[in-house]
Symmetry: C2
Subunit: 339 residues, 2 copies
Amino acid sequence: MNLEEVARLSGVSRSTVSRVINNDPNVREDTRQRVLEVVRRVGYQPNTAARGLAAGHTRILGLVIPMGVSALFADPYFPLLIQGISSACNMHDHSVMLWLADPDYERRTIRQITHNGLIDGVIVASMLMDDPLVQALAEGDLPFVLVGRHPTDNRVSYVDVDNRAAAREAVAHLLRLGYRRIATITGPQNMIAGADRLDGYRAALKDRGLAFDPDLILEGDFTEAGGYAAMQRLLPRRPEAVFVASDMMALGALRALREAACRVPEDVALVGFDDMPFAARADPPLTTVRQPVQRAGAIAAEMLIDLIKHPGQGPRRVILPTELIIRASCDAGPKARKH
Amino acid sequence: MNLEEVARLSGVSRSTVSRVINNDPNVREDTRQRVLEVVRRVGYQPNTAARGLAAGHTRILGLVIPMGVSALFADPYFPLLIQGISSACNMHDHSVMLWLADPDYERRTIRQITHNGLIDGVIVASMLMDDPLVQALAEGDLPFVLVGRHPTDNRVSYVDVDNRAAAREAVAHLLRLGYRRIATITGPQNMIAGADRLDGYRAALKDRGLAFDPDLILEGDFTEAGGYAAMQRLLPRRPEAVFVASDMMALGALRALREAACRVPEDVALVGFDDMPFAARADPPLTTVRQPVQRAGAIAAEMLIDLIKHPGQGPRRVILPTELIIRASCDAGPKARKH
DNA sequence: CTGAAAGCGCTTACAG
DNA sequence: CTGAAAGCGCTTACAG
């Protein structure tokens, strides 16, 4: 069933059917109704490929998730992000093509994404400091937006949270509670969020005029196993509290603590990051920084759709608010407890 | 940069360039090399829409995940499935379009998926007993495969595990250990896997000539919160052991047990299903049925690609093996412990 | 408000 | 082994 057929059945030209399909106002109302009736009756659905070829756009958004560690994808972060993007796309009558790419892209993969002549734009769940895909995108002219800020190029559009400020606030909270020997388990330092959150940790200490102790900084990889391993190495160094740069890692830290028979927060306090669904249900429930992942996805999609509609517009940035969620994994602090 | 240009630069016709691009053997070797050289030099990438329109296929697979409860998507099951599908697609030079659909599809959504003229076939992470999309697919002629068996229509292709047999084995294990008062927290009974696993539970009891007690059967929804709520209601009924139809629900059950100060496995033993990454790290580690989710995804994709290549072939079925993984959440059993 | 026609960038018989 | 040409199913100036 194609345009031609619908035109014939409606007794109009293909042009007119096309106009009706595309909501062109220049169609007489009764003509429109007649065509619409036929469309409904025969269940006509325009061919996306033909449409894309003729119109030069497809209402398809690409989503690329650069994934080194496959374990990372187990983090609910990505499902939430995808959900946000997907729902915004549904709302705006767009579809999404998904690429899970190894960040060691071959050049061919990059070309496939940027020049396939199908997608109207792409969302990159960007996390690496130096992503060759992002660079290719910046040099090309396919609209794109990053989820996660770009560290250097100020021509790119993105949506993000202020990871540095949020981490700083989280650590400041620990300091306010009276904790002093505060460690951190960081994300990978080649990921922007990982570096930014460590930065925030440092800033919070500096705000109080405290020196930071390199022994209390352990690099994790945003996975549960990574948090577990880091916490084990950290334990002998006797931290009073730990700022863990993701809830997933905090879960691992919690496990290491449990195995070592350390009580949380009595022996070691913990603060996570993300406020993933499981954080509230952890034992003990995690104090953590809530970030609106799903909303970030939705906004990224909408931003991209807008960028596609209005090309040549300046870069757009949206910084979403975070919120420190206080739960049982840190309490009144060691000083207070002594009284 | 299009075919025309490449043809001009190579000094051949568009037809020849097209043949080279598509690995048609009917091209003289030196011509092929010449064209390839130009293709590489200018970074030519064929336009997917044009290609799809002309050739009638696109090497794009649709993936639809019918999602009622959005909380369900937090289950690592879907990320794993997507990873499997995605990696198989990469391997076979295919791409994937993703639809997260409310299973209360509007007819329009179904048409959009089945008649968009873009995808060559679709994978449905089918879980509902009666999915209108699946029915539409069965009546149409777009190749498709389900992840999860179809309960009635024996013309559909799918990959699945034997949920019934696996559940039966898990419960038989509890029985062997000496547990008798065995409860189950089921998945939603409008999901095939949910119904099949309950069936397996019943079969295991029957194998031993044991009657089953309706009071010991609680319906969950495959979420952590659902498992938690079900376990709370179950507790007063004093089960010795519980077969929980998914690890995610088992996590919730574990939380309810912990809050009620019940020890696992001393007071209540637990068996889960899925062997999700977190199952081994739970406290205590979960005995559970391992199913190869990622592999199921990969096989579904490969099956679909094959079905597309060889249309009109009979339905294909693959049942993947499961394995009962013994961990600490159930032990020698109440009888044994008395000695 | 409507239609005839060109064109989007490919593939693929067909002829040679 | 190669090229000219038709055609895939749409959209969109253009003319009326």
